[in-house]
Symmetry: C2
Subunit: 299 residues, 2 copies
């Protein structure tokens, strides 16, 4: 499952509850598009704002709606004890894999992060993906630490943040990491604006926010790159540039949730406070591009 397109859907919610029906619809769109895997309750899926019970229920809905498409779920939490509980829930609910980021309150040392992954993988019987996202965790992995953690049992992929925008520099970055990571562990790019370059530089998959809403388009970009047609992948990414600009300025979550609202797929508001919806001028910009990207999706 750790190749191709891993699509990360929203978890539509308001101050009262998660909207089950809308969430299931989003999952079904991904199944119809034949994405390689679905990553529920990632950053885009608002896991950080949900309780253990809510996360379990959302995961159960996803596993049931995903049919044969593998579902990965985040088990990240500040406390190891909670990570272990979430891992237990994920396995019982039938997740195909778990995603773990070293989220932190107190700054973590390399050794603390290694021991977290060691303790967690000891309790697992399903694959784990290492979630490297310093923007949300405040933790910066060294390649050497990635290598040590990737050698633990059950680790099968690393979700890295963006790569350098220059392809040569991206190649160096991926090659350096690749040398320290066992070959059975794939490297997946995230930070959607970097995806084409990351895939062209040798990443085996794209952990994608946009793929959660426009799976066919993102699948096409992933597949052309993985087949070696780098220029075509770059071309698709360039066509999506208006979205990447909004992602960079407002954060991908606010943009993608506004897009799903405008498309009538989810109700408004769809984010937990204190997160505010995309402001109206950005929403206008987004709106003007949605017809184009929707036609790219269906072409």
């Amino acid at each position: 499952m750790f190749h191709g397109l891993s699509a990360f859907p929203l978890t539509p919610m308001n101050e009262q509850h998660v909207n089950d029906r809308e969430f299931v619809n989003l999952i079904q769109r991904l199944v119809s598009a034949r994405v390689d895997s679905i990553g529920v309750l990632g950053s885009t899926g608002n896991y950080a704002y949900l309780s253990r019970m809510e996360r379990l229920r959302v995961l159960q809905l996803a596993v049931s709606a995903a049919e044969n498409t593998p579902v990965m779920t985040s088990i990240s939490a500040l406390r190891t004890l909670d990570v272990l509980h979430l891992a237990e829930d994920a396995q019982k609910a039938g997740a195909s894999a778990v995603l773990l980021a070293p989220v932190s309150y107190q700054t973590l040392t390399d050794e603390e992060v290694y021991l977290l992954y060691e303790q967690c993988t000891k309790s697992l019987s399903i694959p784990l993906c290492v979630y490297d996202n310093p923007g949300t965790t405040k933790f910066h992995f060294t390649d050497e630490l990635h290598g040590r953690i990737a050698s633990l049992p059950h680790v099968r992929s690393i979700k890295i943040p963006g790569v350098p925008s220059n392809l040569e520099a991206a190649n160096v970055r991926i090659n350096n990491l690749r040398e320290l990571v066992p070959s059975h562990v794939t490297i997946g790019v995230s930070g959607d604006p970097f995806a084409a370059t990351g895939l062209n530089a040798g990443c085996e998959l794209w952990y994608s926010v946009l793929g959660g809403l426009f799976p066919k388009l993102c699948l096409r970009m992933t597949q052309v790159s993985l087949k070696g047609y780098s220029a075509e992948a770059d071309q698709i990414s360039t066509q999506i540039e208006p979205i990447w600009l909004l992602f960079r300025q407002y954060g991908s979550l606010r943009v993608i949730s506004a897009a799903a609202e405008i498309m009538g797929l989810i109700s408004s508001p769809s984010l937990p406070l204190p997160l505010q919806p995309l402001n109206s001028s950005a929403r206008d910009l987004l709106n003007s591009f949605l017809i184009e990207i929707s036609s790219m999706e269906e072409s």
Copy 2:
């Protein structure tokens, strides 16, 4: 209550539970020393690793043990809904004030943070202290935003992170903030190594980690500075420099918990995983200074 020394005790805990008896003993030490207020469940009190129910129970223990000393408690959480629940709990349990940091998963905008404080203060009947700590929240306050939030009802203090180490620069920093903040809102310094400079530069109180374990020493340093004896405050802070060095290198929580363990006040381990205890070489350094600081405490 927002002047002088606000002492932040540890919440001694392990993977099974909070140690109630040890926690109450720490509170009683602070009451005996006559600190101006007690800040429970701050960063040093591990609030981020505890559930709502655990936080309520710890607060109840603190209020009961603190007798007439005012108790402030953190109500910080990623989701506004949880902040409001924690505010409700704090008021019911008899807290004298609440401490709120804009902790974040998704990066927050200035407007989102303002609206968080606005919504929270609407539900409050007790004072609120704004907790500015970019190291844990990833949010950077501008002075202008501090001014807007400080003008909301119930806001009575701002807990700022360290000040510039140069006194003149610290004066400028405090004066700039002071100009934008109503006079009934005090400014308190945190980041213990900066405390003497912050107090000498016009901060009205010290939100102190070390004060949670060595209250008499920290009260003395606070009082001499507030009485205008800047040089004496600097002198005391300089004497504590070996501790500040360890704080900077290992984080104050790991150091202060190790100190309390060595002093026999709390059991080991005392921190929630993934946090590891202070390593043995740092512990040796700490140990060698504890006799000196303990005698300063009692002198």
